[in-house]
């Protein structure tokens, strides 16, 4: 990362050529990321348009998704574009739509890579939207509980999951809705929930399970540990 951005003092004897090279590299990288993201937004626009019944529905869904991306970007920008804490990401995606007393989050500090933060950010937005339309947030007393943990998974199926030599580990996030209307599995899965499954599987090699329990939707998102960055403040964070 560029020293200017990291806030480190630059020694006076560092040549201006080095600084110029760093600045060029930084601008090149920024150019790459902006153009890449614009292509993602075009894809998002087309996919949303393809699944919208009218322009009003398209506008709401498209802008909501772009804003979810923007919130994830905002958090990434705060930490040199390297990582985002799961808790911070959750608050960032839920707070604009859900009153604080209607959701709870708990889990040891774990950081997500940039790609994982963007993928999870989008997934959380889709879950909030779904909860507002059909789930816990469609009733005044509904509540959402989100928990997460890291877990070592054995190389051998069926072996003890606490095996210290087991690898790789997973980050598992559970989204549990309660207090909404009685739930039953939809005849046809909506685009938002389908999008979560496909995107996390494609981009993060993750897995999504959705249980439409009568008392509320229960979603489990899991991604390989390569998408989670150890937190320097609490190295032993696995619960």
């Amino acid at each position: 990362m560029c020293r200017e951005l990291s806030g480190e003092a630059v020694p006076a004897d560092v040549s201006s050529t080095t600084l110029l090279e760093e600045r060029r590299a930084l601008i090149g990288e920024l150019n790459h990321r902006v153009r890449n993201m614009l292509q993602v937004v075009i894809g998002l626009c087309n996919q949303t348009l393809h699944r919208s019944s009218d322009l009003k529905q398209f506008e709401t869904a498209f802008i909501g998704r772009v804003q979810a991306l923007a919130r994830a970007y905002e958090l990434l920008s705060r930490d040199g574009w390297e990582k985002v804490g799961v808790g911070d990401l959750l608050h960032s995606q839920l707070a604009p739509y859900v009153p604080r007393h209607r959701y709870s989050v708990s889990g040891a500090e774990v950081n997500l890579t940039a790609d994982a933060a963007l993928g999870f950010g989008m997934a959380l937005y889709e879950l909030v939207t779904n909860a507002a339309k059909y789930g816990a947030l469609s009733e005044p007393e509904g509540h959402i509980n989100v928990t997460w943990r890291t877990e070592r998974q054995s190389k051998h199926e069926g072996a003890d999951s606490a095996d210290a030599s087991a690898a790789p580990s997973c980050l598992i996030l559970q989204w549990i809705e309660r207090g909404g209307p009685q739930v039953s599995a939809p005849a046809r899965q909506g685009f938002g929930l389908e999008l979560i499954q496909r995107q996390l599987q494609y981009q993060l090699h993750g897995k999504v399970t959705m249980d439409f329990l009568p008392m509320g939707l229960h979603v489990t998102l899991s991604v390989p540990v390569s998408e989670a960055v150890p937190n320097s403040k609490s190295p032993n964070q696995t619960q």
């Binding site: 902006v34 996919q47 995107q199």
Partner: protein
């Protein structure tokens, strides 16, 4: 009736990949697979033998799309269109070893992509790939 051209998409961003697939299908082409890594691109290319590959030069934040394209060209003789958000001169020069048929800069529209693909397919029709593929010549490793 001729079989539709077979295209492999190598792109690590979900929305970009599925959008690209949608446009190819609308244009009457067959998408034989979506790959997110250089290794899966090589696997799919070997298995599906596409006519053409649409290859993002940077996969999972690494410039290994170029390395994958070179290995695929040298092993299988399959050429590609590179898509890129930003490529410096060095990358362009290195990528020439894959004999790309075109470069498409991101962000691109569906029309620009399909025009580039059709142009590339026309060129392949005019100059079909030869089988002068030397497996040993590939110095690149695909991860």
């Amino acid at each position: 009736m001729n079989a539709p051209p077979k295209i492999l998409i190598v792109e690590d961003q979900y929305f970009v990949a599925v959008d690209c697939e949608l446009h190819l299908r609308s244009a009457g082409m067959e998408c034989v697979g979506l790959a997110t890594t250089a290794a899966s691109a090589l696997d799919l290319a070997e298995r599906e033998r596409p006519d053409l590959i649409i290859m993002d030069i940077r996969l999972a934040s690494r410039a290994d799309g170029v390395a994958a394209a070179i290995v695929i060209y040298e092993r299988l003789g399959i050429r590609c269109i590179f898509t890129s958000a930003h490529a410096d001169e060095l990358t362009h020069k290195e990528a020439e070893r894959a004999h790309p048929l075109a470069w498409v800069d991101k962000p691109y529209s569906s029309h620009q992509l399909i025009a580039a693909v059709q142009h590339a397919l026309d060129e392949l029709d005019s100059n079909p790939p030869t089988s002068c593929v030397d497996t040993a010549s590939s110095s690149h490793t695909v991860h």
